[in-house]
């Protein structure tokens, strides 16, 4: 029971923490973020297995985490409100070259991020060439270029 409870509590805690910090947190990782992620993983593993290093405990923790993930997928499939809360939803952050300011700070996105995504995906250099920028649920920014810019 202890292994199952530990796995479930760590799963729920991580879900809440990453939901609070937002999807952008993991989407834009620099070197330090990667190190931080490794430290989080290490700390979580300590909490998951405690001082029980047996194979049985490890397998039980893995089975519990997979069951929790399957359960969450079922909840998201069954209740759309829960899905919107857990996964968030796509947000239009720029339209016709103009930033939609409302809530951008909370989303941790600025014009530099949008232009970076535009350069990478379509080779666009200016905001005026972008018809729409959308912050997707996975934290990535999708760029829809103007027709003339897209060629």
């Amino acid at each position: 029971m202890d292994a199952v409870l530990r796995a479930l509590s760590i799963y729920v805690a991580l879900l809440l923490i990453f939901r609070i910090t937002g999807n952008r947190t993991l989407a834009r990782m620099n070197g330090f973020d990667l190190v931080l992620l490794l430290i989080i993983g290490e700390a979580a593993s300590q909490g998951l297995i405690g001082d029980d290093f047996s194979v049985t405990n490890a397998l039980l923790v893995i089975c519990t985490l997979i069951c929790a993930e399957l359960g969450l997928a079922y909840v998201k499939q069954r209740w759309k409100k829960a899905e919107r809360w857990i996964d968030d939803h796509p947000v239009v952050i720029l339209r016709d070259g103009k930033l939609l300011e409302a809530g951008l700070d909370a989303l941790h996105v600025d014009m530099d991020d949008i232009l970076e995504a535009a350069r990478k995906s379509h080779g666009l250099l200016e905001a005026s060439a972008i018809r729409m920028a959308v912050l997707e649920r996975d934290g990535q920014i999708s760029i829809i270029p103007r027709r003339s810019a897209a060629g």
Binding site: M1, V4, D52, T56, N57, C63, L70
Partner: protein
């Protein structure tokens, strides 16, 4: 089908079928009319567990607990509470003596073997009682 199997494994783990805590994980064995020992039925290799020996009668004499040699060899005993006032090895095994008035003794140990672990426990003048536990890898 696979999902139900996973769910069944987690449910079994919650009940203690794979050791640790849970309603199915522990067993209590009578060591006599007024004494018993409680220990896991199912444990995990090198995972901590407690063995609790209890005397349920008020007695001013010291409490004596004897753990058979084969039982002690299969375990790493990490801590004993309360601390025994005397301990020695005999032909029977490890003999522990606790201060007069001690009602409950708790041993914290880890299985050193995988599979079945058997042995005997005796308290005071009662007859030795066989016990066994299964240690998962």
């Amino acid at each position: 089908m696979g999902r139900w199997l996973l769910l069944a494994i987690v449910a079994a783990g919650t009940l203690g079928v794979f050791g640790g805590s849970g309603p199915l994980s522990r067993q209590e064995i009578a060591l006599g009319p007024h004494a018993s020992v409680s220990l896991p039925r199912l444990a995990r290799f090198q995972s901590p567990f407690s063995l609790v020996a209890e005397r349920r009668e008020a007695a001013d004499r010291p409490l004596r607990l004897v753990l058979s040699d084969e039982l002690v060899r299969g375990l790493s005993i990490e801590r004993i509470g309360p601390t025994p006032v005397a301990s020695k090895w005999s032909a029977e095994g490890l003999e522990l003596e606790f201060a007069a008035g001690t009602q409950r003794v708790r041993l914290y140990a880890r299985p050193d073997t995988v599979g079945g672990l058997e042995g005997q426990v005796r308290m005071d003048a009662n007859a030795a009682v066989s016990l066994s536990l299964w240690s998962y890898p």
